[in-house]
């Protein structure tokens, strides 16, 4: 009897656990214009920069973040950031590029929430790459500009969340191990550990 019903009992449990897994730890690689970027394509650290940080929101887990390139002097592209848990990161990008977060997806227990952020006004997550190297955008929380007053509006990602830059760097290190970025990431971890 138990044998007969055991698979039926375990199936919903497995589904719940798998959905929890998705909610807790999204993991994906960066995509450029819908094409997966390989770590082997890592750019030269002397003229490119990696943008990274953490993302959080009050009711769910962010598993997708899309940037748009805004500087007309550079190439037009849409970039889907790589995700590892709450950490997001880009592939190495050329100096001169101006990124604007245009879209993010939030996974909640009841489903998904897609949000568009527009192309206007520069927020802390929107980075203009002025020098090569590592650029930490911050531990970002999706909230109103005045986080204690939700009615104040001007929603976006602001550096109100708790987080540890070293955790983010360790996740990025796994992706860029064996590339020219490895010593740079390691030295930043050492610098922060002091």
């Amino acid at each position: 009897m138990l044998k007969k019903f055991l698979p039926l009992t375990l199936l919903p449990l497995a589904l719940v656990l798998s959905s929890c897994g998705t909610l807790l730890a999204p993991k994906s690689s960066p995509y450029m214009n819908n094409t997966k970027v390989q770590a082997a394509e890592a750019g030269d650290p002397s003229n490119t920069a990696i943008i990274y940080g953490t993302l959080s929101c009050p009711y769910g887990v962010i598993d997708k973040l899309v940037f748009i390139q805004m500087n007309p002097a550079q190439e037009s592209f849409m970039l889907t950031a790589g995700m590892d848990g709450s950490t997001f990161y880009t592939q190495p990008l050329a100096v001169g590029i101006s990124l604007k977060a245009i879209f993010f997806r939030e996974k909640q227990s009841g489903g998904e929430l897609n949000s568009f952020l527009g192309i206007q006004n520069r927020k802390p997550i929107d980075v203009r790459i002025e020098k090569p190297g590592l650029y930490f955008a911050g531990n970002l929380l999706f909230s109103a500009r005045d986080k204690d007053n939700p009615d104040s509006g001007d929603y976006g990602f602001y550096p109100y969340a708790k987080g540890n830059e070293i955790d983010s760097l360790e996740k990025i290190l796994k992706v860029y191990k064996g590339t020219a970025w490895e010593p740079i990431i390691n030295s930043r971890i050492e610098e922060l550990s002091k």
């Binding site: 094409t35 879209f103 568009f116 206007q120 006004n121 520069r122």
Partner: protein, 214 residues
């Protein structure tokens, strides 16, 4: 047997088909030409309507060659976001501008004005005169909240230009020129330098636009 009975009617069927084809062709012709006429010559506003006329410019000019490339970038985000205009090629060089308008509907007990939810109306394309029909409210008062520009006609590629102007439509007026608005963009993130933005009066040009198109 069936073939025997069908045979005499085949000619009649063919005749009917010809008539149906002719009528459909005629209807398509009439509707297309009516559509073209409507496009080239907009209707006159009704007595309870006002045509809001405006021209909106941004400086420095937008690099349309750069932004039009996003029409060909493969990203589900842009397609999910939807488009404002079906004529996307047209929208690349002449992005549609929408006016976000509110009207006063009633007063509550504290005599505070209550405003209806904002409505968005296509008013013009960037850098050109254009007009939008709007029903005149009972108190003839409307508020222009802001203009929204949609690059390539794409919803996600939107930026807003603040207006915040309350207008009382005078009696007997069915065309209202709001002004020629110039906004100075500070940087590539479409941040606006309001100190160097403003409204200019190009009444004569607006008047010739009205007489030409209405």
């Amino acid at each position: 047997m069936g073939a025997y009975y069908k045979q005499p009617h085949r000619g009649a069927f063919q005749m009917k088909r010809k008539i149906i084809r002719f009528v459909s062709f005629f209807l398509i012709l009439v509707s297309t030409s009516a559509g073209l006429w409507a496009k080239s010559k907009p209707r006159k506003p009704r007595s309870n309507e006002v045509v809001l006329i405006a021209k909106i410019r941004v400086t420095p000019g937008i690099d349309f060659a750069f932004w039009s490339k996003y029409a060909h970038v493969k990203s589900p985000v842009l397609s999910w976001g939807g488009t404002k205009s079906a004529e996307s090629d047209e929208a690349m060089l002449n992005p549609p501008v929408y006016a976000v308008v509110r009207k006063h509907i009633s007063q509550d007990s504290s005599k505070k004005p209550v405003w209806v939810r904002r409505t968005e109306i296509w008013i013009c394309t960037l850098n050109s005169f254009g007009g939008a029909y709007y029903d005149i409210p009972k108190d003839r008062t409307i508020v222009i909240d802001h203009f929204s520009v949609y690059l390539n006609g794409f919803d996600p590629l939107r930026f807003d230009l603040p207006v915040k102007r309350m207008i009382v439509v005078p009696e007997g007026v069915n065309y209202l020129y709001l002004g020629t608005f110039t906004y100075n963009l500070e940087n590539e993130y479409f941040e606006i330098d309001m100190d160097n933005s403003g409204v200019k009066d190009e009444f004569d040009s607006a008047q010739s636009f009205i007489s030409e198109f209405f």
